[in-house]
Amino acid sequence: MKSTPLAYGFLLVGLICVVAAVLYAIGALQLFTSGPGNHYKHAILLGVLAVASFIAFNFARPRTV
């Protein structure tokens, strides 16, 4: 069984991950980090999660065809 709210939840999560990854990479976001600076580890992980979320969105959404 597929779920529209779940699918769009993944789409939203993916978009948030992209924005957060950019903000972590440029050092504008320090939330949940050990200190100030550029947090490339967070950025890369969130980038991977964004891709995973977009794939999950594609497969979790109900299809009409």
Binding site: M1, K2, S3, L6, A7, G9, F10, V13, C17, L31, F32, T33, S34, K41, H42, L45, L46, L49, A52, S53, I55, A56, N58, F59, A60, R63
Partner: protein
């Protein structure tokens, strides 16, 4: 420590809780607040994940192939591809929470009292999952049947819904709390989603592997930079893997007809006993 972690990781009794409690109770010279403690535990977890990869090697080859095939094609054509996508959906919630809460989680390792308390909570959760499962069996008029007949009524991992997979995956985040068992909450979640016990355990073990390996990739480099005895730690990881492999084989056989109850009662008893011993020691 490696044997303890490997043996307790896949049992629904919280390896992390035991890893925090046992050294405190037995006066081992581990400092849970030490910055290398979490990476060391993660290294032990990689031993466990390697054991799971070996145990499910054929399935993982098919799942990875199925994942890329389905992702490129844009649709799922068989059960393996569906399982690959269910595992992806189940992994995302725990991975996000792990990335965001990593630095805060480390502060929780300082207190064995919290680990003992959460171990009791874990026990109550296990009993609750089984209670709800028995209710489902009664609703389906299976209470009078044999355990094999009861289990046959429920589904395989590939039939779980995407929403249920996401919820089961999110439950993994609870296991960041020392004392709450990752395999316990995911097996319990799988039971609530209508899986057979053995299938819930298989889904739990498959779901664990990418999360544990991902945590390892993030944490292990910090272990190598902190001046710890790497050879000793690697030996512990190997022991952890051997113990985990034996545990997984045992559990898959056990869950053909067994339930979570014994582990629930064990967690409650161990948690309460640990709290009493820690209080007396203080």
């Amino acid at each position: 420590m490696g044997l303890l972690q490997g043996a307790s990781e896949l049992f629904p009794v919280s390896s992390l809780g035991h890893a925090v409690l046992v050294p405190s109770l037995l006066h081992w010279r581990f400092k849970q607040s030490d910055p290398s403690f979490l990476p060391f535990l993660v290294l032990l977890h990689i031993g466990t994940a390697t054991a799971l990869l070996i145990l499910y090697r054929d399935q993982w080859v098919a799942i990875i192939r199925g994942f890329f095939t389905a992702a490129i094609r844009g649709r799922m054509d068989n059960d393996t591809e569906r399982l690959a996508m269910l595992l992806l959906v189940g992994t995302i919630p725990a991975a996000i929470l792990g990335v965001l809460l990593e630095s805060r989680i480390k502060t929780l390792f300082a207190s064995p009292y919290e680990a003992a308390g959460f171990l009791v909570v874990n026990g109550v959760l296990m009993l609750g999952f089984e209670s709800l499962r028995r209710r489902a069996e009664r609703r389906a008029a299976l209470a009078a049947g044999s355990r094999t007949e009861q289990e046959a009524h429920f589904a395989s991992a590939e039939r779980i819904s995407f929403l249920a997979a996401a919820i089961v995956g999110a439950c993994q985040a609870l296991a960041f709390l020392p004392g709450i068992s990752r395999s316990g909450v995911t097996i319990g979640g799988g039971l609530l989603a209508g899986l057979r016990h053995e299938e819930a355990a298989r889904f739990s073990f498959l779901l664990a592997t990418p999360v544990i390996l991902g945590a390892g990739i993030v944490e292990v480099p910090s272990l190598f930079s902190s001046g710890v005895p790497i050879a000793e730690y690697l030996a512990a990881a190997v022991l952890s893997g051997i113990a985990a492999y034996a545990s997984a084989r045992f559990l898959l056989r056990y869950f053909r007809s067994g339930r979570l109850d014994p582990y629930g009662w064990y967690c409650i008893a161990a948690g309460l006993l640990s709290l009493a011993l820690l209080t007396l020691k203080a």
